[in-house]
């Protein structure tokens, strides 16, 4: 489809141009837009910054702070805390060493996200390759199907999905969460959008040298697709890290749930450590964002249709 050529081409050009522009002339922002942008950036970062800040408060201070919530008294305000009475790693110590429950759920989340990534690594690039570099009967119909499945909310097929998984004997096992996510249409779409924009000459050069379709895939396509594969991996990890609906429905066993589902339930039991829990929960996504920020930007620009 020609349309995607256009969008990938411009995305690439856009990036190059913007870096060149940056080198040539970085303008000073007009004061008003500078003010607004800074204000909004600060608002966006406040929740993240304060989560980390509060995670270094002593447990007692946090519990008494949180106990101030829910008062209906007109004359009373909650304090606004900026610095702890003393910097403390006690919250982290508690959730990491004293109470293994948090760590176990954290590991569940890592396992789910990791297993999904591994599976996607096998399935998504291959399928995207077939959908973008081959001509065969029904290709466009198949791609259209992927698009429709992509926009459907999870709840639409929830009930029949449960029955399908039960028929396959997967319900209530970790595979019920992992397997459907491996074939997630969105990442298929994303990688396909990138692959279809790769100029034909690159692949043809490989063909000229006598490489078969598999060799072209491994030695030409995969290296060229590195940015989008990184973007898909980062976005997919974030997706699995955030998923709530699927484990909530597919798993009845509480000890198999990922952190995303259980996080708020374990927090109500032990308020003093809520912020260390949240900070640790955010940390992997923060590192992934920082490391892959350029790729993620590319991924979002390519996912126009999501």
């Amino acid at each position: 489809m020609a349309q995607s050529h256009v969008s990938v081409g411009t995305a690439g050009k856009r990036r190059r141009r913007s870096t060149r522009g940056l080198m040539r002339r970085v303008r000073r922002a007009r004061p008003l837009s500078c003010l607004i942008l800074t204000l909004i950036a600060v608002i966006m970062l406040i929740p993240i910054v304060f989560t980390f800040l509060y995670s270094f408060f002593p447990k007692g201070e946090i519990s008494s702070y949180l106990a101030q919530r829910g008062s209906y008294d007109q004359s009373r305000w909650m304090d606004i805390l900026f610095s702890p009475a003393q910097v403390s790693l006690r919250q982290y110590y508690t959730i990491l060493i004293e109470e293994p429950q948090y760590l176990q759920l954290f590991c569940n989340s890592v396992l789910y996200a990791g297993a999904i990534l591994v599976g996607q690594g096998f399935v998504i690039p291959l399928t995207a390759y077939a959908l973008s570099r081959f001509r065969f009967r029904g290709r466009d119909a198949l791609f259209f199907l992927v698009l429709v499945l992509m926009v459907l909310p999870f709840q639409v097929t929830m009930a029949p999905s449960v029955m399908t998984l039960r028929a396959l004997g997967l319900l209530d096992t970790v595979w019920a969460v992992i397997l459907p996510m491996i074939f997630s249409p969105f990442y298929l779409f994303l990688v396909r959008q990138f692959m279809i924009g790769i100029p034909g000459e690159i692949v043809e050069a490989g063909q000229m040298d006598g490489a078969g379709t598999l060799r072209c895939f491994v030695h030409v396509m995969l290296p060229v697709c590195r940015p989008i594969l990184c973007a898909a991996a980062a976005l997919s990890f974030a997706d699995s890290w955030n998923m709530v609906e699927q484990p909530l429905i597919y798993l009845t066993n509480q000890s198999m749930q990922p952190l995303s589902v259980m996080f708020n339930q374990i927090n109500t039991d032990s308020t003093g450590v809520a912020f260390a829990g949240a900070a640790l929960y955010l940390l992997p996504m923060l590192l992934i964002y920082i490391y892959f920020q350029d790729d993620i930007l590319l991924g979002v620009q390519l996912s126009e249709l999501k």
Binding site: V42, M44, L152, P153, Q155, V156
Partner: protein
């Protein structure tokens, strides 16, 4: 482009998975919504739909879902348009601004809940700000006002996504058009109106429809703040489905789900049509 039979080998794993976990449940679900769920499973046509649509709880969920998405979408649309306009030209710190905006997109909403509950507490910072600006305090975490923290959490998480798409569209407008227009003596307003607007209109439409479709799926945020049986003002369609589902009333779940899907798919087709129309013009 290859024309080889080996393509089926590459397609096989993905195709099997899509069939098993997406397509079969989808088709099975359609069948479900058209049968009565008894032992003989008779075909009842659209009876289920008529019954579910008349259900008051379903109507409440549908109304809330539509209202929530109509609260989220315009705010995201307008804000991201303004921000993208400011980020169009490279300015000092644009990487920082962009990262600050996009970072929440990856952050798990569950971890944000605790901060949100503090921010919107009756004695919390948001009410302090409101009082400082001369307004009255509000019980944000009760009744109809609950929508505000939910919508804001959703916007916080999803704003950057639209900003990035808008910014890319603005930057793709050829610089030469503006230079030419300036030479012809067009002022700022004239340039924006006659060049920028028509050039980004397709993207603007896309961002708006996406904002509506995605906001239509709003559930996680509501679930975290309101739980499985939330206040009436934030009871969404997905709550209705989840609760019917836990009562094993699969007919009603799928019927509600497909009523919902029809709306989403209709919006999507509208988008797809306009996209291919645009590409047709470009070619």
């Amino acid at each position: 482009m290859f024309r080889k039979k080996s393509v089926w080998l590459y397609l096989l794993p993905g195709l099997l998975g899509l069939m098993a976990f997406y397509l079969v449940p989808f088709v099975w679900g359609v069948w479900f919504s058209l049968t009565d769920g008894t032992i003989d499973n008779r075909f009842v046509g659209f009876d289920n739909y008529l019954r579910v649509w008349q259900n008051e709880v379903f109507q409440l969920g549908l109304k809330n879902t539509i209202e929530l998405s109509l609260l989220c979408a315009p705010v995201i649309f307008v804000l991201s348009f303004l921000l993208a306009g400011m980020l169009r030209k490279p300015i000092a710190g644009s990487t920082f601004y962009r990262n600050a905006l996009l970072m929440p997109y990856l952050m798990p909403s569950a971890a944000m809940l605790i901060i949100w509950l503090i921010l919107f507490d009756y004695g919390g910072p948001v009410n302090r700000l409101a009082v400082a600006l001369g307004f009255d305090r509000v019980f944000w975490l009760e009744g109809a006002a609950l929508r505000v923290p939910i919508v804001l959490l959703y916007i916080w998480k999803n704003l950057g996504f639209s900003v990035v798409i808008f910014t890319a569209a603005l930057q793709a407008v050829p610089e030469s058009l503006y230079e030419y227009a300036s030479l012809e003596g067009a002022g700022w307003f004239r340039r924006e109106w006659s060049i920028t607007l028509p050039q980004i209109l397709p993207t603007a439409f896309l961002v708006f429809v996406l904002a509506v479709v995605n906001a239509f799926k709003i559930f996680k945020e509501v679930y975290f703040i309101g739980g499985a049986y939330p206040a009436e003002s934030i009871y969404t369609l997905q709550h209705y489905m989840n609760n019917k589902f836990s009562k094993l009333d699969y007919q009603d779940v799928t019927t509600a789900a497909y009523s919902f899907a029809v709306i989403v798919i209709a919006l999507f087709l509208l988008l797809y049509r306009t996209k291919s129309v645009r590409q047709g013009e470009a070619a």
